[in-house]
């Protein structure tokens, strides 16, 4: 079987980002690799774009074209890449601080435009704003990310945790195959055994948070994103919330320009040659 036909996405032999002992980001590497393999797209066509922070290292451990960019800017970098070569399957895989805090505006517009990207947002509750309710010292309220993504126009919206790896792999596969902006939130708390992090985050010692997710979450496919806010006094709602159809940015662009220019319009298919 030729290398291209093999469905498995292997990890890089030359380099591996390391994670803390007991960090579940390690398992996300496998889930991501499995999700990509399930799409059956040629590995060459898949690209991962990330930013900064621990979640952004996950994609770098897989044997796939990988770009680590400035914090907050993975989505526009991915936009340029996808528009430049429409054949690529571009996955943005990074953390909540990157995507929703610093990069919030870009996520918003990618949703509005319905750019054909898959955005996987690892919410680890370490960065203050987006997931802060877990951190006792932080008073800032969190986002309801699925709600945000849905409001901005995402066509596929889901939430899983790092305790639901096979659901996550399937979701990634569905999201990558779906044209338009797909958004998956993955709750994956920082379970650092590093002392400095434990001091800041006393609830996150050991596997406590992961156990909490496993025991206190409920899967409700089709739930309205407006009702899936995270509040630790009630169960966390997981599932595939939204799957809908909207014209993608490129569909709309082609339709408009073809209408105006008729047969003078040349549709961009991507670069040729190497």
């Amino acid at each position: 079987m030729s290398e291209q036909a093999s469905p498995e996405i292997t990890t890089r032999s030359g380099h591996q980002y390391s994670f803390c002992e007991k960090c579940d980001l390690e398992q996300l590497i496998q889930a991501l690799g499995k999700g990509v393999a399930m799409t059956e797209f040629p590995k060459e066509e898949v690209v991962i774009v990330s930013g900064l922070g621990c979640p952004s290292k996950v994609g770098g451990n897989l044997q796939i074209d990988f770009f680590q960019t400035n914090q907050g800017r993975a989505v526009p970098f991915a936009t340029g890449m996808k528009l430049g070569n429409p054949k690529l399957k571009v996955i943005v895989f990074t953390g909540d601080g990157d995507l929703v805090m610093k990069g919030g505006n870009h996520l918003m517009h990618a949703g509005r435009r319905n750019m054909d990207l898959t955005v996987v947002c690892i919410n680890n509750f370490i960065y203050p704003t987006p997931g802060s309710s877990v951190v006792p010292s932080n008073f800032e309220p969190p986002f309801n990310m699925p709600f945000l993504a849905w409001a901005c126009g995402a066509v596929y919206v889901a939430r899983w945790t790092s305790a639901h790896l096979s659901h996550l792999a399937s979701a990634i596969a569905q999201a990558v195959k779906k044209p338009g902006l797909s958004f998956i939130e993955v709750l994956s708390p920082c379970q650092s055994t590093r002392e400095d992090r434990q001091k800041r985050n006393p609830k996150c010692i050991g596997q406590d948070m992961l156990k909490f997710y496993h025991e206190n979450s409920v899967i409700k496919d089709g739930a309205s994103p407006s009702e899936v806010d995270i509040d630790f006094s009630k169960p966390i709602i997981l599932g595939r919330f939204i799957e809908r159809d909207r014209p993608t940015f490129v569909d709309s662009m082609h339709a408009r320009l073809r209408k105006v220019l008729r047969d003078r319009y040349i549709q961009w298919e991507g670069p040729t040659g190497s």
Partner: protein
Amino acid sequence: MLTADPQGTLTGTHKMDGNTACAEGALAAGCRFFAGYPMPPAQEIAERFAKRIPQLGGVYIQMEDEMSAMNAILGASWAGLKSFSATSGPGFSLMLENLGLGTMLETPTLIINVQRAGPALGIPDKPAQADVMQARWGSHGDYELIVLAPNSPQECFDLTVQAVNWSEKYRVPCIVLSDEAVGHQVGEVVIPPAEKIELQPRRYYTGPKGSYLPYKPDPDGVPPMTKAGDGHRFHVTGLTHDYKGYPVMKAECQQQLVPRLCRKILDNEETLSITDENGIEGADIVVVSYGSTSLKAKEAIFKARGDGLRVGHLRLVTIWPLAEKRLRAIAPQVKAFVVPELNYGQIVFEVERCAAGQAAVHAVPHGGGETHSVERIYQKIKEAAQ
């Protein structure tokens, strides 16, 4: 030899403004991706490209801000396209962090900055030349890039083609530093037949898959590139990295990477630092100018020569890398340099540094908002000659 695509090249003699000529230069040079954000006085560049590209095949997108525009052109470049953006001071300021990413990833791309009066919002449709230092030093860290300053619509075309070619050759973002006066000046632009416009092909890696090292330089200090989707499954990062493109958080790696990023440009000063010289031989005074100010300087020099003064003109066509060797060679042979700029003093300090006390250096600063004053430059030349 790679030459321009006749489809994208508007061969002929045209009357067009500098901004339009920049857009046509980008098209002739093979740019097929533009991402930008509206910003006077650069708007005509975006508008021209947006109008032309749907009939050539390519992408135009207005992004939500200049930060995303800069990232989009980097992403498109890594997808295999020649890409560019156009903006002015306020937008260029927003692009800086990600321009730095472009230098670190060694991504060919182009930014056209049509300078306007600042700081902050300033006057959107009036000229200045106050972003000169920013063009080189704006992003954090050590890096070098290439900055060209046209002074006519023809040069807007020619230097845009040159900038795209050099960005490919040296794998570095390049800047065309225009200004509102040049951008909106209407003049004759001769666009040659496509086969006469030589282009620099991207230096792609051609070796076996599995052996590709994204940042292993060729002897000239520039590593061969690849693009996403070619099957090399490479890894690039804005963190300090080794030949393989993996991050290495060690001083040794830093010592290896940063000098190479700088030297690949600085070592090529002779090729890259284009000057336009007139009457330097035997001159007592040399006026150093660039961009729209050079047209005023030329008039002032003509007037001064009419008075019998021996005045030369050194126009910086390339601003960065600076024509240091040239300036250092001229300094001991002249009495003084006169440096008129449409800013409160930027290149004049570089000239002073290069002169190293061997010639006096006279600034002719200007707050901007209109083109420079022939009279003030002329008076300064006379003062310098005494």
